[in-house]
């Protein structure tokens, strides 16, 4: 057992996997000598050589497209997109190709591809280094999308993603990278994809969240417990697609109150599906309204500190107040 932050945890797990299976290659912009702009692949070039650690041209459709080819021919590529905001040029390769190849070939071909991308805001990244992209990709059948937010989940889910014979989009919240530390088991373990995790048990209210917002919700839950004795259950969705309806619904049925919190633009965001699922399947178990808190519907987080802050918290302590209101409803 070791305490690690998210960057170190992912670095170490990836390193272990590469050492154990030489079909694994990493490719992306600056993953080589630079070790990645977030240092996830630091030292890999020296250790595994340029054939397995590939500094690619500046071309995301190409990165994903080439990785699909590798995955079709016996390699296990892990493509890094430097920032999730820059994955959009590869949208077609992901949606039309990676995600459809098994289906369109009637199970004749498959694409064991992992795409890693740092997402999320609150790190002064402005419009193009802060985006949430999970809603776009969660909607793509044939693709799995995961959003671990602790070092331990990141490690376990990365291992699962690498062993998955189908494409997985592995999203790493940038603000968790160095801000969140936690225990990571020494022996290899995996965390399944498609299984949510109750990160804090509670009785009065269920909050479903993921990414850095999950940590904010945990903190807020602690404060509500201390200040008001309100017991909030925090469910970390962890996997956007497949979504673990069962864990979410059981929690909601238990507490009778449901809140969904996410950082992305609210409308048509991933939280819409979670709210819809709760409404369809647990409406008659609820003792209050379903509350959804998403980011404002603006084209992303601005740069200036004051503006960025407003995006993340339009009213002072809004999460605290809205959890309190819902608990007391």
């Amino acid at each position: 057992m070791a305490q690690k932050n998210v960057v170190t945890a992912i670095h170490d797990a990836l390193h272990e996997e590469m050492a154990a299976d030489d079909r694994i290659v990493v490719l992306g912009e600056d993953v080589g000598v630079r070790g990645g702009v977030f240092r996830i692949t630091q030292g890999f070039m020296e250790e595994f050589g340029p054939a397995r650690v590939i500094d690619t041209p500046l071309a995301e459709a190409g990165i994903v497209g080439v990785a699909i080819g590798m995955a079709l021919h016996g390699l296990l590529p892990i493509a890094e997109i430097e920032f999730a905001d820059f994955i959009h040029p590869a949208f077609d390769q992901i949606v039309s190709e990676a995600a459809r190849i098994r289906y369109r070939s009637n199970n004749d071909f498959n694409v064991p591809l992992v795409i890693r991308a740092p997402w999320g805001g609150g790190i002064h990244g402005a419009l193009y280094h802060s985006q949430s992209i999970e809603a776009f990709y969660g909607h793509v059948p044939g693709l799995k999308v995961v959003v671990p937010s602790t070092p331990s989940d990141a490690v376990g889910m990365l291992r699962t993603a690498i062993r998955d014979p189908d494409p997985v989009l592995f999203l790493e919240h940038k603000k968790t990278y160095r801000a969140i530390t936690g225990d990571v088991l020494d022996e290899p373990y995996t965390v399944p994809i498609g299984v949510a995790d109750v990160k804090r048990e509670g009785e009065d209210l269920t909050v479903v969240a993921y990414g850095f917002m999950m940590h904010t919700c945990l903190e807020t839950a602690t404060r509500l417990q201390e200040d008001h004795g309100i017991s909030v259950e925090v469910v970390d969705a962890r996997s956007i697609s497949p979504l673990d309806k069962q864990t979410i619904l059981s929690s909601v049925r238990k507490t009778g109150k449901a809140m969904v919190v996410y950082e992305d633009n609210r409308t048509y965001g991933a939280g819409a599906e979670i709210v819809a699922t709760i409404a369809e399947e647990a409406m008659f178990d609820l003792d209050g309204p379903i509350v959804r808190i998403g980011g404002p519907d603006i084209p992303a987080m601005p740069f200036a500190t004051s503006l960025e802050h407003f995006y993340l918290e339009p009213e002072p302590d809004q999460l605290y107040r809205r959890m309190l209101d819902l608990a007391r409803f």
């Binding site: 190409g62 080439v66 699909i68 079709l72 190849i101 289906y103 369109r104 070939s105």
Partner: protein
């Protein structure tokens, strides 16, 4: 790791295609030789093609042409909702495909590549299973439109409709081939329209940087549906684009099956000897509309199409073979009859084959246990 993780894109037995690449030409020696034929003959000698090879190539061209005609007939009769014609592309397709080793090399064709996939090992029956979207369609079990080829067994990588997306896949597969030190070459085919897509640029660029064993074959028929080449690019030759990627670009007469073969043979040798990719541009034409949904009278004159028919690559190769003494009118006639019977049988058998079970529509989104 799941057992469905591919160890290689192709797991079929070796053989076929130009397995006879190194054979000597014997039959031709007895053919009459005048000045012009002598040139042709010596060309062929250099290529190392046997008479058997030539006849086999010719048969594939005839087969492609007759499948095309039958498919269009099925479409007119309302039995085939959608077909994509090949006619006039047979020479560049058979010529380039012939330099590949069936069961060993890796193929990424596009929808017009009927003759490529025939050389790669698909049968007329396979093709019509696709056209009638039957359960047994080896490409997709009736899921995809016809002509969206794929077969792991034959090393034909599954293709889609979006144009140009297979180009980076070809580069990635070639990277894996090189990484694993395999004796294989990767080839991908596409139209001149495809060269406008960003994916095309990105795929060729990657292949050039890593000197990958891949051949890029452009079948330039001068139209992308209705858009003429002059509105597709400001250059005369697609091959000129290779200059931006650090490997050779070659222009060939795509209506000449032997010239197409020769260019591909050199490119395959380059690839196998570690010298990297080649871009081959085969200049050709398309006799038919873009697909059965198209009406080409809106964008090109009948005179233009008629004129092109005077350069029918099949007639031309037939004439070549006659001059070389490998064919005569009677044999051509009987060949056509034999192939037509084969095609008619394939149509009938495929038509009679079972449709996909509707309940299967939910399967194979992900790996199943």
């Amino acid at each position: 790791m799941s057992t469905t993780t591919p160890d290689a894109a192709c797991d079929c037995p070796a053989g076929g295609g130009s397995a006879s690449r190194s054979k000597q030409n014997g039959v031709l020696d007895s053919a009459p030789k005048m000045a012009v034929e002598a040139t042709r003959q010596s060309e062929i000698d250099t290529l190392g093609l046997s008479g058997e090879d030539l006849l086999s190539m010719h048969r594939f061209m005839v087969l492609a042409r007759l499948i095309d005609e039958a498919a269009i007939r099925q479409n007119r009769q309302g039995k085939a909702p959608f077909v994509i014609p090949v006619s006039c592309h047979e020479a560049c397709q058979v010529g380039t495909a012939w330099a590949m080793r069936r069961g060993q090399d890796i193929w990424l064709p596009y929808y017009r590549d009927l003759a490529v996939v025939l050389v790669a090992g698909m049968t007329a029956f396979d093709v019509f299973l696709g056209i009638f979207s039957k359960a047994g369609d080896p490409t997709s079990g009736g899921r995809q439109m016809p002509a969206h080829w794929g077969s792991r067994r034959l090393g034909i990588i599954t293709g889609s409709s979006p144009i140009g997306t297979q180009i980076p896949h070809a580069a990635g597969i070639a990277y894996a081939v090189k990484f694993r030190s395999e004796d294989a070459v990767v080839a991908t085919w596409f139209g001149e329209g495809a060269t406008s897509e960003g994916d095309w640029h990105e795929g060729l660029n990657f292949a050039g940087i890593h000197k990958l064993p891949v051949v890029f074959v452009c079948e330039n028929n001068h139209y992308a549906i209705s858009v003429p080449q002059s509105k597709q690019m400001a250059v005369e030759n697609v091959a000129d684009r290779a200059a931006g990627y650090g490997f050779p670009g070659v222009v060939v007469d795509g209506n000449d099956v032997l010239a197409s073969y020769a260019a591909m043979k050199r490119a395959v040798e380059r690839a196998l000897s570690g010298e990297g990719p080649t871009l081959i541009e085969c200049k050709t034409y398309r006799f038919q509309p873009h697909t059965s949904d198209d009406d080409d009278r809106t964008y090109r004159t009948r005179e233009e199409v008629e004129e092109a028919r005077h350069h029918d690559p099949l007639d031309r190769f037939s004439a070549d073979l006659k001059t070389l003494g490998l064919m005569d009118d009677a044999r051509i006639e009987s060949l056509r009859a034999e192939v037509k019977a084969e095609v008619d049988r394939a149509v009938a058998d495929a038509w009679a084959a079972p449709d996909p079970d509707p309940a299967t529509v939910l399967r194979y989104v992900f790996e199943e246990d």
